[in-house]
Structure formats: C-alpha cells, structure tokens
Symmetry: C3
C-alpha cells in the first residue's frame, strides 16, 4: 500500500532531480579526487551557499587517516588478440576504485586474481573498491569473463595516488534558533544512481525548498561527504558543535527507485527523528519496511556511534544491500525515476515540516468549548459523529500544554500535519494557545 499521490508539482521536482542525476551520473567519484570535486561544483550551481572544504591527505580522523588522493585518466584491458576487453572510458565501474597504476602483461590465469564479476548476476558489472590496500583490478560482467580466451593480456591503468585532499560540501541554512536539523548524504559513489546519486540530489532540492520558505524555526545543516572517511573527517571537526546543537537528524540514501519505502532506526531507536520517520511513513505512505540499527551500513554508523549519539534516522526507498542492482552497473538511470525521486522528496518535506511545526498547544477552556456557536461542530440533526468535529474535539482533549503536535498525532492516530492544521484553526478561534 502506497497512499502517497504524486501531484503535477511533484512531477516537476522529480524531473528536475532526475535531470541532475543524469548530469552527475558519468562522473567517476571516489572518496577523494577530481570527480568528487566536480560533483560538488555542480551541486553548488544549484545552491551557491554550498561551501566546499578540503581535508589534506594524512589528516587523522579519529581511528582513520585521510588517504592519498586518487585520480584516474584511463584504463584498458587488451586481449591476446589485441581487442579491448574492457575500457574505463565505457564505464567507470570497470576499474576497481582506488586501483594503483599498472602496465603489465599477464596470462589469463594470472589475470583472474585481478578480475571481479558476479556469477549470480552475469550481466552486471560489480562495484569494487580498495581504498586502504594497494591493489589493482578490473570489473566486468560474468558473461564476458567466462568467454575470455587463454593467452597473454595487457592491463594498463593510468591512475595516480598522491598527497591531495578529501573534499566535502556543507550547507548551513539559518533559522530562528541555533538548534539544528542535520542532514547527511554521501557523494563517493561512481556511476550508480540509487546508491548513490539519489541522496545528494534529493538533499539539494530539500535545501532549496527550505531556503524558499518564509521562515524556519530550526537551522539546517546539510553535509555532502564521502561515506565513512568523509563522515569521520566531518565529525572530527564538528563533534562538539553537533552534539550540542542537533535536535534531529536524517541520513539520506537510496531514495530514487519506485519500490517500498524504508526506515532504519537510530541506535537509540526512540529519538524524535525515529518517531517522525515512522509517523510520516505510516500516515503518508502506509506500508514500509522498518530496519533495526543492527541492519545499519551507511553513515548512521558514525553519527549514532557511542559518544556521538546524534538522533539520526535513515530514510530510504529500497535499502542498500537489499535490492539486486545494489553496487552494480544495474543501479542506473532506469532504476531511478522522476516519480521515485519525487515521492522521497515529498516524504522528506513532510518529515521536516513536522519538526518545524511540532509546537505545544494548551486548551484555553476547562472542559469542551462550545464548538457549535463557532461553526466548528457537527451539523444539526446529524446522528453520525466524526469528521472535522471529532478531530477538533480530540485535539482539544489532548492539548494539555505538555503534548506536542506529534505526541497528540500519535495519541489520536491522526497525521501530524492534520493535527497541525486543526490546531491552527482552533488557535485562530482562541480555543488553543501556544505554549512557549
């Protein structure tokens, strides 16, 4: 069951996001290197406020060290007959990410140690990395691999591993308070669309939407960083600030396909972010998959670690590691669709809106107010009780000056945005007052 209706304006956003993904798709990203910087530069075209930071190779980030920067110009594998077997120019997944440079001849048997394919998915090129061990390798479809003929192959990889930097982007959108909503997404994956171009692209559009609002209760912090080492680099420079200011946090990844929505809990499992994620998915979507923190695998690993403990929920459609195209060349521009992106975008708008409007109201009367004389009650003669009148009375019955909009929404089993709407109406009639 997916209750979410995609409206024409959502279609427009979906198409715009898909266009941005198409533009970013061919770039060869990694945890360092020019591809990542090019990606950030394109994102900055959409949001000039995006700041780009460079962390030099060798910088210690807790237990990790920023590695040498990796860049690659070209790579080819030539068959004994002189044919190009695979070419980096065709697909940047063909080369193991962070491959050291090489130019050598090998027998097929020797070469096999440097080849990667997926027997169970014979038409997919796998995504393989070796950031911290010096290796080189080629990735190809298993279909192609099994047809390789014996003989001497030539492997050339024109890559460089040199001191440089790790780049990440940060965007801070100020609000009425210094309390922050933190959004994390990552930019290290080469040509794959769901995991991961959907996360940064949806994040950019959310940021644009937030900047267009008349006012914002919270300050918003978006971070676009390489996974793991980028998150750790960011954390190591901002840990105290984040622990002090962040009130809710979302990790955005795998948001572009049209399958089931899903949510992965924070380590704590009961933070405001968890509650909002579950509430929005239940009321806006209906059916969704719920994962425990034990199923984690993205940057919630760092942001929810002991001693960090940000209240971070991960929101996704098909979760990483669970869909067949995951970490292969099949995670492409067909898997990710405008409608898929639009649904996620709308979902997240609702999540952030709940935070913005999660105020505390208190009834101004003792006992039920007389809704009838204000035109807020059921019509005369109606024997059925329900609808607007019931909603108003339920909200009045629970607005005790301690419960938030989300608390009330959960208690009366109504969407938080509906509770908010009725509450504003009751506020305008003087039947509710805002509590500080």
């Amino acid at each position: 069951l997916n209750k979410l209706a995609i409206e024409p304006e959502d279609d427009a956003a979906g198409n715009a996001m898909h266009n941005l993904i198409r533009r970013l798709f061919p770039i060869c990203r990694s945890i360092t290197g020019d591809g990542t910087r090019e990606t950030l530069a394109i994102l900055r075209e959409h949001l000039p406020e995006l700041k780009i930071y460079d962390v030099p190779s060798g910088t210690k980030c807790f237990d990790w060290v920023v590695p040498d920067e990796w860049n690659i110009k070209s790579a080819q594998l030539i068959s004994p007959a002189g044919d190009v077997v695979v070419d980096f120019a065709d697909h940047n997944l063909h080369v193991v990410n962070y491959s050291i440079p090489t130019d050598q001849e090998l027998t097929l048997e020797e070469l096999q140690n440097h080849l990667h394919s997926l027997p169970e998915q014979p038409t997919a090129i796998p995504y393989v990395t070796s950031y911290y061990e010096p290796r080189w390798g080629f990735c190809m479809t298993h279909k192609q691999r099994v047809e390789l003929k014996p003989g001497t192959y030539r492997a050339t990889i024109d890559s460089r591993l040199e001191p440089g930097s790790l780049s990440y982007g940060e965007l801070v959108i100020p609000g009425e308070t210094k309390e922050e909503i933190f959004v994390s997404t990552y930019i290290c994956h080469p040509s794959m669309a769901n995991n991961e171009l959907s996360g940064p692209v949806v994040s950019i559009f959310l940021a644009k939407w937030l900047m267009g609002l008349d006012s914002r209760r919270y300050t918003y912090r978006f971070v676009f960083a390489p996974e793991t080492i980028g998150a750790l680099a960011y954390l190591s420079g901002n840990l105290d600030h984040l622990k002090k200011n962040v009130r809710a946090a979302f990790n955005l990844t795998c948001l572009g396909d049209e399958r089931c929505y899903s949510y992965l809990a924070s380590r704590n499992g009961t933070t405001i972010s968890d509650r909002i994620a579950r509430h929005t998915l239940r009321h806006l979507i209906g059916d969704f998959a719920e994962y425990s923190f034990l199923d984690r695998g993205s940057d919630e690993r760092q942001y929810c670690a002991p001693g960090v403990d940000l209240p971070m929920a991960t929101i996704m459609r098909s979760k990483y590691r669970t869909y067949p195209e995951y970490h292969t060349s099949l995670d492409d521009l067909d898997l990710v669709t405008p409608a898929g992106l639009a649904g996620s975008y709308k979902l997240l708008q609702h999540c952030l809106s709940i935070l913005e409007t999660n105020r505390i109201y208190r009834t101004t009367t003792i006992g039920d107010p007389q809704l009838g004389r204000r035109g807020l009650y059921t019509d005369f003669g109606e024997r059925k009780y329900g609808g607007d009148a019931k909603a108003r009375m339920d909200i009045l019955a629970y607005a005790d000056g301690a419960a938030t909009v989300l608390d009330i929404a959960e208690m009366i089993n109504m969407a938080a945005w509906d509770v908010r709407r009725y509450s504003e109406e009751l506020l305008s009639h003087g039947l509710l007052q805002l509590v500080e």
Copy 2:
C-alpha cells in the same frame, strides 16, 4: 461469556430499579425545565439526602452559558385533511427538544425542513435537540413520513423559552476520610430508557446500598445533572474541590440492557478507576468491550479534560452510539430489563467494594509460614497442590507491604474480592498485618 450469576436478591433490586424507570419514563426531560425538576424530586423520594441546586439562565460555565429554560405544554402537526399527524402527548420525542413556539401553516414541501426521521430505521422516532440554535421541528417514524400527502399542514408548538434555571442533584455520603469517590450520571434525556434512565436509577440504588453499610472508608459524591452543560455547571462550582479530593470516579450511563458489558477508559487510561473497571469486568463478567477515550461522548469529556483530569472510567452495557435503538423511541422499557439493571448494579457494587477494601498487607513472617499447624494447608497425602492452600501461599508471597489487594490480585490473577477474603483470614491468624 458472562460469568455473572443473578441471585434472587439481585432480582429484587432489578425489579425495583425497573419500576422506578417506568415511573420516570414518560416525563419530558431536557437540559432545563420542569421535567428535569420533577425527575429529581422523584429521585429524592428514594434518597431524601439528595440536594437539588438551580443554576440561573445566563450563568457562565467556562466556555458555555446556561440557556433560557425550556418548557412545553403541547404540540401537534395537523394534516391537510385535519387529522393529527403527530402529537407531543403521544410521545415526547415527537418534538425537537428545545423547539421554539410556533403556530403556522406550511406546504408539505416547506414542512420537510422541520421534519426528522430515520430512513434506515423506518419504525423509530429519532431524538433530536437544538439547545443553542432557535429552531422548531417534529420527529416521526420514516414509515409515517413517506405517507404524508401534499397540501397545507398546520404546526403548533406551545413551548416557552424564558429565563429560569438548570437544575441538578447532588448527594454526598460521608465516609471515614474526606477522600472521595465521585459518581456522575445524567438526567436530561426524555422518554428513553437505556440512555438515559438506567444511569441515574442504578446510581440511586448504589447510593442507597452505600448508605446502608456499617462504615465507609471513602466519602461518596453522586451528581445527577444534565449532560454537558450540567456537568460544566457542576464543574465550574466544584473544580478545586474535586481535583483535590477525588480518588476514583465512575461515569454511569447505558446500564440497563442485557447485552455486552463495556468500559471506556479515562484519558490517562491507567488510573485506579480504569484498573478496577477492567479487573471487575474480567473477573466478574468475563467478556466485555473495551473502548478508548477516543470513543468518548458522555460527561467523561468534561471530567477528564486537560486541567480537570479526574480519574474517571465510564462503565456501561451497550455503549451509547453503538446500539441500534440509541437515541430513538426504540430505547424503551423493553430494551431495559430488571435483569440488565441488576447485573450492572452488582458489577458496580463490586467496583466500589474493591475501592473500600483495597488495603495494603504485609507478611508477619520471613519465608513461608507453617500453614499446616493452623489448618490452612493442603490435606495430608494430597499430591495435588492448589485451591485454598495455593491461594493463601500466593497472597503471602506477594504481600510485601507495598502491594495493594488489587495489585496482588493482578499479580496472581485472582479476583480482588477473593484476595481480600483470604487476606482477612490470614490477618485473623496473625500471618498478615495491615499497613497504615
């Protein structure tokens, strides 16, 4: 499953209650007026201690104002042929309660705006009110309505709306402490039997029973008031007293039919009243319907409102709004029976008895006492373990000086009245002592 057995003495109470309902049934009650005062006067015949109070029209009760008093002498609708179509003298539901006076001729088409019937229940006269909007109208069976012939009708309603008062009754039965048990019921419904003559009549008999007890731990406060405005009028004069003194509260309504018992939770849901209602229904009755505060609709709306928060559970048989005869002429003296009333009366006696006897005991020994030498253990040679011996040992094992009788009853899954009986036996043997 209904485990409650009706004994001959219950039959007597049931018949006496049904007789009182028969006497009160024909009176045209409303939220104000002579019918309500006549009703209170008859209730006072049973309980001379009942005090009757009048709240003048125009009195502000929180967000509400006591309206002008309504009285009606007669009303008729005359057909084009000169026949009496409906006559208030036949059934006081025939007139919209609080109808303004009128005497006019109308075409059938014009008249339709002033008629009320139930297409889905063609033989029932609906109960319609318009307390706060000046209207007039007639109610009739749908069967009769569809046979009305075109032509000019004459509608006459000889009613008065004038400054007067709203009347309610209050009965306070003193106990050993000033801590109070509060019982609320309402007296504004014209000729209907389950909702609502069953509530006030069962309340009167409970009060009589309490007054006949040798001693009462608690002070009891019964309030017989018109629904909503009456409760608010009562609350506005007694809010601080109630908030300070009330330890448990029950709202009594719809207690007279022979269908399923039911219970509606307080807003909090876990008060002592909720626990007692659930415990008694489970152990005395067996199956029962349990409703959330979201299903509320009676005076628990006022007494459990934010800022009031009395620990009030509503106890019913067929809940208002859920049975087909609700708010129609079919809610009559056949629907409500002596046996139905007797079961409710017995149930509520058990609820109040739990409160009266919900003491804390503590074992006087360390470890199990030697029940055998006191004749309190299993017979010699019995290999089965259970029955009285098991009950005694379980109570001794949980009587830690902190748990109440009800706490122990819930922990060992035994009826509270049985826990109480065994506890008194163990007390008499010196194996338990009362904790202050």
Copy 3:
C-alpha cells in the same frame, strides 16, 4: 529443539555424576536423621571444604521449629498368611517418611487408613511424608494394594523420634570480591533420583569446577539443606549476610532427566539471575519451558519471599510436579542419565561463566574504528556483510561504557559468551577498554 551438543568431556562428567547418584540413591534421607548426615559425608568426600552444620531440634526458624530427629531401622507389613507384604529394606519409600514407631495388628479395613498408593499409576510407590503430624503408614503400588486379602495384618515400624538435629552443608569458595553467587539445593529426599539427587550432585560438580578455575570474580556459596525447614534454618542464621552480599542466585533441582529444560522466574522476574537463565537457555539450548513464580514449589519460596528477595532463578529439566515419575519410586536411576546430568552441568557452567565475565567495555574510538588495517574486517571483494566483521562492529557500536556483556548480547541477539570472546579480541587490539 535442543542445540546443546554433549562433548566427550561432558560424557565423563555425566558418568561421574551418575556414579555418585547411584551411591547416594539407597540412603533413606529425610529432613533430619542419619541418612542426611551420611549423604553430606559422602558429598564431603568430593569436596573436603564442605562444612556440615547441625541445628538442634526445638530451634525456632522464623515461623517454624526444627522437629525431633527421625531415624528408622526397619519396618514390615505382614499379611494374615504371614507373608511380608512390604519391607522397608526393599525400598525406603515403603514407609511414610517420619512415621512414628508402631507394632500392632489390624484388620485390612483398619489398615487401609495407613496405606498409600496411586490408582492412576498402579506400578509406582508414592512418596509420602508427615513431618509435623504424628502418623505412621506404608506406601505400595496400587497393583499390590488391590490384591490384599482380608484378615489381620501386623504392622511394625522400628523408628525413633527424639531430640537431635537438622544437618545441612555449606561450601564457600572465595573469589576476588565479597559479592556472592548463591546456589541452593536440597538433600531431604529418600531414594529418588531426579527430585532429588540430581540437584546436589550437579552442585558438587559445579563447585569442583569453580574451585579449579585460576580465578573467580565472585565468591560462591553452595548450600545443601533439607527443603523448606532446612532453607528456613539456613536463612534464619544468614539472612542479613545474604541480603547484603548476594548478587545472583540459582536454585538447582530436577536436573537429571533428558527432557525439556525449564526455568522458574524469581518473584521479581527481572533479576540478573532471571536474565542469565533465559539468555543461556535460549542461546545454548533453544526451546525451553518458562514458569512464573506462581508455579513455584521449591526453596525459591523462602529465598524470594518478601523481606528476603534474593535474585534467585530456579533451573531445571523436567520441573517438579510436572513429570509422571515425580515423587514416586519411578523417579529412579533410569530416569536420570549421564547425558541428562551432563547437559544441565554444561548449562549451569555457562550461566556462571556469564556472571564471571559480565564486564562493561567502552569503545576507545569515536565512530567505527578501521578494522581493515587490523585484519578484523571482511575480506576484500566480499559483497556479503556478516560473520566476524559484523559481530565486531555490532559490539563496538553498543559498547558505550554503560552496557554489560549481557546487555549487549541481548541488544544484538548474540550469545553472551560470543560477545565476551569478540570483546576480548577487540580489547587486545586496543579498540575496547574495560570500564571499572
């Protein structure tokens, strides 16, 4: 489902325990008397550190008094024809335990009041006692009883009831701290094997195993006492010490058959002992029966009583009162097997090991450490994530300096001994540190 594998070394322990049970089986034990002292003396052969205490007859133990000591030399029932119907020398269950001496002739009819048998188990001799009421009687199979011929029988019981003492054994194994693990088992049952020789024999072997360990975090206290009166005698002399020092406690009984394992909760139900019992049964065994404290019947009655409240869980295989051979001559050396005993012994070793190793660790890094460079991560190129790497990361993610090994084990659904093993590995790599 029983996941526990019995290894050859477990077989050796099982056989040794079964041999000890065979030696103890024929002795006529009771709550006092020479048989109990002989039993303690044999147990002391295995553990010379076992101290034996005598509590004189007449000593007050809370609500109880230690009775006169009972000893029996012989007993016979002679038929009218002069045949020996039953002879105490054949089976010591043939005489009601604590029978007063007698030597008299009776008709069969008179005799019937002194006979005990089980119609529903016609080949079993029942176990009957009368500690606190002076009675005498014979127990026999129902098969034999129904064949008794009319006539005059002679009943002779050569027993003595004289001031003496109740004996119990206590073994204290010192550890690094004065905090204690308390193990209770009982020694009052005559020739029955599961209930009860399995408890004291498994306890002796656990004590021997503990004494053989290089170090022990906790002090261990084993008590071998007659049921009920022995536990109360022990408690009355040690109550304050136990309440102050005991951190976990296990009651060991019915541990020798090969059926389902079971556990009976403490009165509180959530103590560390309860958690360890459930955790070990779930992870080591799989399926097991779980009983509430309401199903109690052994010395947990005293040790969990109000005012004592030791954190005591009872661990069993077939629970007393639930298996057909319970308290009859069928509870014999066939019902209890070496494998049955070995399984229980191994289970309890795991329970005690969890206590010994239930430390608190804290991660030494912020965020995930880099497991790869320490050889602790998944192999290169593996797309599947799980196994050791996943286990290590989960432990690191929950080792927050507050959670114990058992807490983490429950949070990540892993056996506590596995959590401990990985934690020690991570400690050795400097990735965890021990919290005091």
